[in-house]
């Protein structure tokens, strides 16, 4: 079973997204901000990190993960709303694989997974 970390300030969003990923047969973990997200990744690096790019530290988390030494690099997918698409270019250049726009569903995630080689 693939392991995913959902990083978002909003508890509601974390719950909804975790639920969606569990339906898609992931084991989902949550983190409210980038520091605890990085700690979780150091404990065990997930297969996928879904990170809200508009939250403080979101893009910095992408950079930090790509700087991490070690065998395994996660697929990183940034989440954006229609008002903050400006983060996309910076996030991709920082090393994110893909982005999805909120509100996103299963279909959207599946396409993002396909583009980033997750499945």
């Amino acid at each position: 079973m693939k392991h995913c970390l959902v990083v978002d300030e909003s508890r509601v969003i974390r719950k909804v997204v975790s639920g969606l990923l569990e339906d898609m047969k992931f084991y989902a973990e949550e983190a409210a901000e980038s520091r605890s997200a990085l700690d979780a990744c150091r404990t065990q690096m997930p297969d996928l990190v879904l990170v809200n790019l508009a939250n403080a530290g979101g893009i910095e988390l992408v950079r930090a993960l790509r700087r991490t030494d070690g065998a395994k690099q996660p697929v990183i997918i940034g989440t954006v709303t229609e008002h903050d698409v400006g983060n996309i270019v910076e996030a991709i250049r920082a090393g994110a694989d893909e982005y999805v726009q909120k509100p996103f569903g299963r279909e959207c995630l599946t396409q993002a997974f396909a583009h980033s080689g997750l499945m």
């Binding site: 270019v89 250049r93 982005y99 726009q101 509100p103 299963r106 959207c108």
Partner: protein, 279 residues
């Protein structure tokens, strides 16, 4: 379709896709939405319509996609581009190794996503610099061609079909829009052209894309157009129609390239121009 449902759908399409749905298209709309209704487990399309008052995002996307079936998107029907990359391009690069020239014609280019997708694909294929590959893109709509030549797309338009890496590599942000890079834009020549007009100006093409253009053509028009395409296509060239399109007996000039490659045709040995009978 009742008037309220239609109004709701029309409003949705206008807001989400800038698309004007004429009342005369209500029946067409209903048939386009039937597969969407089935996919989401509704027994009747009317039930899907009722959901459009306050729809989940996934419904909205599915409805817009089904209704905008003639609208263009980047790398639409990915299998077609995979076939172009994996079969058509190597075949023609080999066949034209002497002249090192290729001409690709997008005959129903709409707002340009298809020719730009081909250009991106060619750019990433890193073909040798001494090749001259021309992409000519035409459409009946001058408004569509103008938009295509501008190469500026909304975020909604670039969202579908474009991997993020491809987006960032070949587009620059322009407010809440995205502009195709000059490098890619330069690879395509745009011109307004009606497929029912005379084809003489084009010369010969090695690949012709004519995807989903025949949907509204009467049988005679389709036959005439296919004759024109046959006259324009090189003898070893490829014609690419939409994946679900067939010749439907409209032309003996083409044969399928491969049983599994839907929509891809070559010229048959019997591709002869009909001779006008003397009266």
């Amino acid at each position: 379709m009742n008037a309220d449902d239609f109004a709701c759908l029309a409003d949705l399409l206008q807001r989400r896709a800038g698309f004007h749905l004429a009342p005369s298209k209500a029946q067409l709309a209903k048939s386009r939405l039937a597969p969407v209704a089935r996919r989401y487990g509704f027994r009747k399309t009317d039930q899907l319509m009722a959901e459009l008052r306050d729809p989940p995002e996934e419904f909205v996307n599915a409805v817009v996609d089904a209704m905008m079936i003639n609208e263009s998107s980047f790398f639409r029907d990915r299998a077609c581009f995979d076939y172009f990359r994996g079969v058509i391009l190597p075949s023609l690069l080999s066949a034209r190794a002497g002249t090192k020239r290729l001409r690709i014609w997008c005959a129903a280019a709409s707002t340009g996503q298809e020719p730009y997708s081909i250009a991106i694909l060619l750019d990433e294929a890193k073909i040798a610099k001494d090749w001259r590959i021309e992409i000519v893109a035409t459409d009946i709509s001058s408004a569509a061609i103008a938009r295509a030549a501008e190469g500026r797309y909304s975020h909604y338009e670039v969202q579908r079909g474009l991997p993020a890496q491809t987006l960032v590599r070949h587009f620059a942000q322009d407010d809440d829009h995205w502009r195709i890079s000059e490098r890619i834009r330069r690879m395509v020549r745009f011109r307004r052209f009606n497929l029912l007009d005379s084809f003489g100006w084009l010369g010969e093409a090695d690949v012709i894309f004519c995807r989903n253009a025949f949907l509204y053509f009467a049988p005679l028009a389709k036959r005439a157009c296919l004759q024109g395409l046959s006259d324009t296509l090189a003898s070893d060239g490829y014609l690419v129609l939409g994946a679900s399109e067939t010749m439907e007996g409209a032309s003996t000039a083409f044969v399928p390239d491969d049983a599994d490659a839907r929509g891809i045709y070559r010229k048959s040995r019997h591709a002869v121009r009909p001779v006008a009978l003397a009266s």
